[in-house]
């Protein structure tokens, strides 16, 4: 059968110039592109997949953290801050809710079809993923942004002082691309370690690796202990319906909680007990705690969760079904590239960061920002990074000279330091990393000796990656993904070992208590030699709230 689009010979490389290059086409990338274009900058958005369906938001139904600028705004933010296990920054939280609110009003103004409440007021605190991202695609195209779908980025370019663009592959035309740009926004999402979950299989930490190669540090990488419940074998990591679940063993007997009562509510404080039960034996659920009206709202409001039950041929409100906890890495965790400035600049000149590619510690500390907070952060950080990158490009750093002096920065998975070993495949590397960072008994319940054993395994694996892993042609993006997953796993384990306490989703059996001396961020940097900042406990100071 003749293939039209995939030319086996490859075609001539694509070479473009822009003021701002946005890498990634989820919500934060779309908002970054809009913000940059609004300043008059020439903007290119390159996405691994398709702007509109890529990323964790597109197949989901997400709340936003929507705080209107009324009198109780400060108290709402303060209450949320109390839940962040001390690591968030109220200044960032306040400016994020304000920026997100303004941009949600822009969606209203642009005609996004929000639902109405009973009093007729628009309800803007929820965005249905497929509709939201289809809408954002239209806005981005309308703003004159050049969109490159199916153009995964492989590496950043630098002139030694500034990031000056990026290069990658066009995986549908089988050719290379390069964009020279005055500034780059990384909106590449988090790293879910290739777990098969809705919208996150392609979120492989590509931006973390590119940023670290350019010299940026990462923050909060130990906070990868967030798991969400899903029917066994499915991609549906949507916890909300399990608010109304009872948990059972295969024979239908109720699992009892630590108080001897039937274990219920999969998204509350009892999650830990469900995780423990799951390590022992398979766990089943039935959504029998939902009243009939609620059942209707769940079916109508969460079709991405409920259509699949119909395909399985079960009624989840009556029939029990096996469940699992899906690891979500930094997607619903909080780690990512350190945000260095208010404009979402990074430690590297000309490099900006948005959405889940950025650390969300400032917003959610050690707790998950999954759903609402991350959604508002994507809107706000997208906006700031787009503006920041456009300003940087206008100041003209590196302009004129960048074409002749730009160097590609990509190493692991792309330019191995030794001979390429063909038996070393991306798939095997990913499976080996997953064995250390996904199992509940290693990553949900952490322990210094197990973390250390995993770190040593990934160090050995890394030397194979670094020395021998490379792909050819379009498939180079697969070896780069594997390298990014391996690098993210190492950063996560190193940071988890350094945080000798328990805090939020970081649960250490050997340090079960929260230690106020660790009330600060732990930074990791370096790709081959991982460096840690903030590993030492700090004398506690009195914080004025």
């Amino acid at each position: 059968m003749a293939l039209i689009s995939r030319d086996p010979q490859g075609s001539d490389p694509l070479h473009l110039q822009a003021d701002v290059l946005v890498i990634g086409g989820g919500p934060s990338g779309a908002w970054a592109a809009l913000a940059a274009a609004e300043t008059g900058a020439r903007v290119i958005l390159a996405d691994k997949g398709y702007l509109g369906t890529s990323g964790a938001t597109a197949p989901s139904n997400t709340g936003t953290w929507c705080v209107s600028p009324g009198e109780d705004r400060a108290q709402i933010v303060e209450r949320r801050w109390q839940r962040t296990a001390g690591l968030a920054d109220p200044r960032w939280m306040l400016r994020c809710v304000d920026r997100a609110y303004e941009n949600l009003l822009k969606l209203v103004e642009w005609g996004y079809p929000f639902p109405s409440e009973d009093d007729g007021k628009l309800y803007i605190a929820n965005l249905r993923g497929p509709d939201y991202m289809a809408f954002m695609r239209r806005r981005v195209l309308l703003a004159g942004v050049t969109v490159l779908d199916h153009h995964p980025a492989l590496e950043l370019l630098s002139n030694g002082e500034n990031v000056t663009g990026a290069a990658g592959v066009d995986r549908q035309r089988n050719r290379d691309w390069q964009v020279d740009a005055g500034a780059v926004v990384l909106a590449t999402g988090g790293c879910a370690f290739h777990e098969r979950i809705l919208g996150a299989t392609g979120l492989t930490g590509d931006g973390y690796l590119m940023a670290a190669e350019a010299g940026a540090s990462l923050s909060g990488m130990e906070f990868t202990g967030k798991y969400t419940m899903a029917p066994h074998g499915s991609s549906l990591n949507k916890g909300l319906p399990f608010r109304w679940a009872s948990f059972l063993r295969e024979d239908g007997t109720a699992i009892l909680n630590s108080d001897g009562e039937p274990l219920r509510n999969g998204i509350g404080e009892r999650e830990k007990e469900i995780a423990r039960a799951m390590i022992e034996a398979p766990v089943y659920a039935v959504l029998d705690q939902a009243e009939p009206a609620l059942q209707d709202w769940l079916r109508q409001g969460q079709p991405n969760c409920f259509v699949p039950y119909a395909r399985m041929g079960i009624d989840p409100f009556k029939d029990m079904f096996r469940v699992t906890l899906k690891a979500e890495g930094t997607v619903r965790g909080t780690g990512g590239i350190r945000v260095a400035g208010s404009d979402c600049s990074t430690d590297v000149a000309g490099l900006y960061v948005a959405g889940d590619a950025a650390s969300r510690e400032n917003m959610t500390g050690a707790m998950s920002g999954g759903g609402a907070v991350n959604s508002s952060w994507a809107i706000a950080s997208g906006w700031w990074s787009g503006q920041g990158a456009a300003q940087h490009a206008k100041r003209g750093y590196g302009r004129g000279s960048f074409r002749s002096f730009s160097k590609p920065l990509g190493e692991a998975g792309l330019r191995p330091s030794g001979s390429v070993k063909a038996w070393l495949t991306a798939k095997d590397i990913i499976t080996a990393v997953q064995a250390e960072v996904l199992p509940l008994e290693k990553n949900y319940f952490r322990d210094g000796s197990r973390l250390e054993a995993s770190r040593q395994k990934l160090d050995v694996l890394w030397s194979d990656v670094r020395n021998h892993l490379a792909g050819t042609g379009v498939d180079r993006y697969r070896t780069r993904e594997a390298a990014a997953i391996a690098a993210s796993g190492r950063w996560s384990l190193n940071a988890a070992l350094a945080r000798k306490e328990s805090r939020g989703m970081h649960r250490r059996a050997d340090f079960p208590a929260n230690d106020p001396a660790f009330g600060h961020a732990i930074l990791v940097s370096g790709v081959d030699d991982v460096r840690i900042q903030g590993a030492l406990p700090v004398e506690t100071k009195e914080f004025a709230s």
Partner: protein
Amino acid sequence: MIELISESRCIECDICVKVCPANVFDKTGGLPIIARQDDCQTCFLCEIYCPTDAIYVAEYADGPVAITEAEVEERDLFGSYSRALGWKRGKPGGTEFDPTHRIRVAQV
């Protein structure tokens, strides 16, 4: 995981090739093919972008399942996700009727 493209329903518009975020499909000049099934992330988005409800994605994400086009047709599963959302002919719709805000109130 992506299971099948119905030959009788498909109009060979190649929209699925364009919109799949995991680049699972390839153009052929005729019926698009599922060229990289294992790359599917089971997001169901190809189904709702398909203007003729010609695509079926099974709920099982970890590998292929055995299901025939006749069974999908018989159980009225073609286009069932689009209908639940309110999308029509591959175009967005229905989000203005999303009752999720009621669930969020009940959740607390």
